[in-house]
């Protein structure tokens, strides 16, 4: 368990993350420049915050009230970066053994052999870093970090420089190793897919702060704010006002009145709605839908082909031509062909009430 709550000013940038990292994989997710890497460096001891605390279990790594800053070499952590991570002048085996110079020679060799073996690269032990591929190099770097038997692994975009297939394999291996070794992993990424594939928990970071931390499904389904929803790929975030509370509650938005499945309480309160683009259904007439709530007549204004799916931009009829009345819909390619959307402009859309998530301002 890592607990961190600190502040650091780096030039104009203010870093002030608060986060608890239990065992398992916690993904620190956010856009470039949100302060993810700096947060990781602070936990590793490479960056000294101005104030606050960083704890690893019961051990304080940093505590400004005690003027304590444990240097990186006394923190028991494994730290991995995107690339150029291996010592170029050492063999793969010597890289792995670098962190355990105090072990007897035989034990060191045995641990190196066993770690490289468990990552499927035992045969590379005598190679030089320039002679192996990027994916192999990241495995070696992982083995090197694990050789010291750290309880905490800090990974900074570890798979970003790899091709998709290699990255996928390594993500699965990371999940396996995390379980086997009962590790606490903090992984930084700006890749939403990676965050969802590898993380048990996701911490969403923006402008130096942690906006939300929750289990992966919880963050994905219930973002706390419009900003988190936008970062998590919700293309439709609408501002609205709660109304008709006595009749179950609806929200008045720029595209019209929307029924939601979540409980609404205070009449007149402003809220943000996040609607997943892939949950919205399109049909040729209003009678197409069994559920007659949240059905709107729309005009197709733009479409793009993503290969396996299509993105359609529609404008709700009766709204002005500004973006306020626009909604993004994502549908699978076969559904698109089934509907024969191609070129047809006039449609009806249905937004299932369960697809709408209500967020306080």
């Amino acid at each position: 368990m890592i607990v961190l709550a600190f502040e650091a000013a780096i030039g104009d940038f203010e870093l002030a993350p608060k986060l608890e990292v239990p065992s398992g994989i916690t993904v620190l997710f956010g856009p470039s420049g949100s302060g993810k890497t700096l947060t990781l460096e602070a936990v590793a001891g490479l960056l000294r915050p101005d104030s606050g605390q960083i704890l690893a279990g019961d051990t304080p790594f940093f505590d400004s009230s005690m003027n304590l800053h444990v240097p990186p070499y006394e923190r028991r952590i494994g730290y991995l970066v995107q690339e150029h991570a291996l010592f170029p002048h050492l063999t793969v085996g010597d890289n792995v053994a670098y962190g355990v110079p105090d072990l007897p020679r035989d034990a060191r060799k045995e641990r190196t052999r066993q770690l490289l073996g468990s990552l499927g690269i035992g045969e590379l032990v005598d190679r030089r870093p320039v002679e192996i591929s990027g994916g192999q190099a990241q495995r070696v770097a992982l083995a090197r970090a694990l050789a010291r038997e750290p309880e905490v692994l800090l990974l900074d975009e570890p798979f970003a420089a790899l091709d998709a297939a290699t990255a996928g394999t390594l993500r699965r291996e990371l999940r396996r190793l995390t379980q086997e070794l009962n590790l606490t992993v903090l992984l930084v990424t700006h890749d939403l897919n990676e965050a969802c594939q590898v993380g048990d928990r996701i911490a969403v970071m923006d402008s130096g702060r942690v906006l939300q931390v929750d289990a992966r499904e919880e963050v994905a389904r219930r973002p706390h704010s419009a900003r988190v929803a936008a970062l998590l790929g919700y293309s439709n975030v609408l501002r609205g006002k709660i109304t008709n509370v006595n009749k179950g509650g609806q929200v008045q938005t720029s595209i019209g009145l929307l029924s939601v499945s979540e409980l609404l309480e205070l009449e007149g309160t402003q809220v943000d709605l996040a609607i997943r683009a892939d949950r919205i259904v399109l049909g040729r007439g209003s009678s197409f839908f069994e559920d007659r709530s949240n059905v709107f007549e729309v005009k197709l204004v733009e479409e793009s082909d993503l290969g396996v799916s299509r993105i359609l931009h529609v404008r709700v009829c009766g709204t002005d031509t500004s973006r306020m009345g626009h909604v993004e819909i994502q549908m699978a390619d076969d559904r698109y062909k089934q509907l024969d959307v191609n070129g047809r402009r006039d449609w009806y859309m249905h937004i299932p009430s369960e697809a709408i998530h209500v967020m306080a301002l």
């Binding site: 590793a44 001891g45 490479l46 240097p71 990186p72 070499y73 006394e74 923190r75 952590i77 494994g78 730290y79 970066v81 150029h84 991570a85 010592f87 170029p88 002048h89 670098y98 962190g99 355990v100 110079p101 030089r128 090197r144 970090a145 010291r148 800090l154």
Partner: protein, 273 residues
Amino acid sequence: MSKAPSNGRPSVSWLQVAVALLGALAVGVVLVPVGFLIARAVIQADIGAALSSPFVLKSIQLSLITSSVAVVVLIVIGTPAAFALARWSFPGRGLVDAIIDLPIVLPPVVGGLALLVALGRRGPLGEPLTAVGINVAFTTVAVVVAQIFVALPFYMRAAKAGFTSVDQRLEAISSTLGARPWRTFTRVTVPLALPSIVGGVVMAWARAMGEFGATIMFAGNVSGRTQTMPLAILEAMEADVDASIAIAVVLIAVSFAVLISFRVVARLGARSG
């Protein structure tokens, strides 16, 4: 735009011809005099006899010893400073950088004169040293000091470039792997900077071997004590041109060996880096 060649033959432009001619001239400026010197040494001078004369042998011995000592001292005093210049930011860093380069632009005779003014028997530093029985000027120590003076920029430049080229993320990784700063320095920083450092050692050594002006001003020209090979060449000229040619050829051989080893080291470094 010029017309593209249409007949498939590689076309040689006037520009390429001009570059080739000027290049040949540049190489010739170095190669022709050295070539004639070596040719004359082989044809006329009795190198064997010259090499067996105590006068020549003493100068070779003195040159090898003083330049080696100078380089060792340079490594000891220059390496930490080169590291600091490469990594630390401190007020006056640019000035320190410029001062270190000074011996390159300063005529060596002027450097020797400066050393003499400071460390001569009447000099502000020389006088107290003389009082406690230490004479620097016109001794073998003065030869070494003069060589350090002129060779310092060559070593410092190279070592600084070496430290600058080391990826500091690797040092950060090393520290997260439990390595204390000294271990990181000796196991990561120095090995990665080593090709540059070795190159600097070689260049500094070659410069010290060839040093003339500062030495003759500050150390004088006493056979066996301060007469290095370049000084011996000058003295031999007065009596026996062939002897001075023989020493010159030995000096060329040593310098060339140094240059070749520099290239080899640089190439090995590039391969492992």
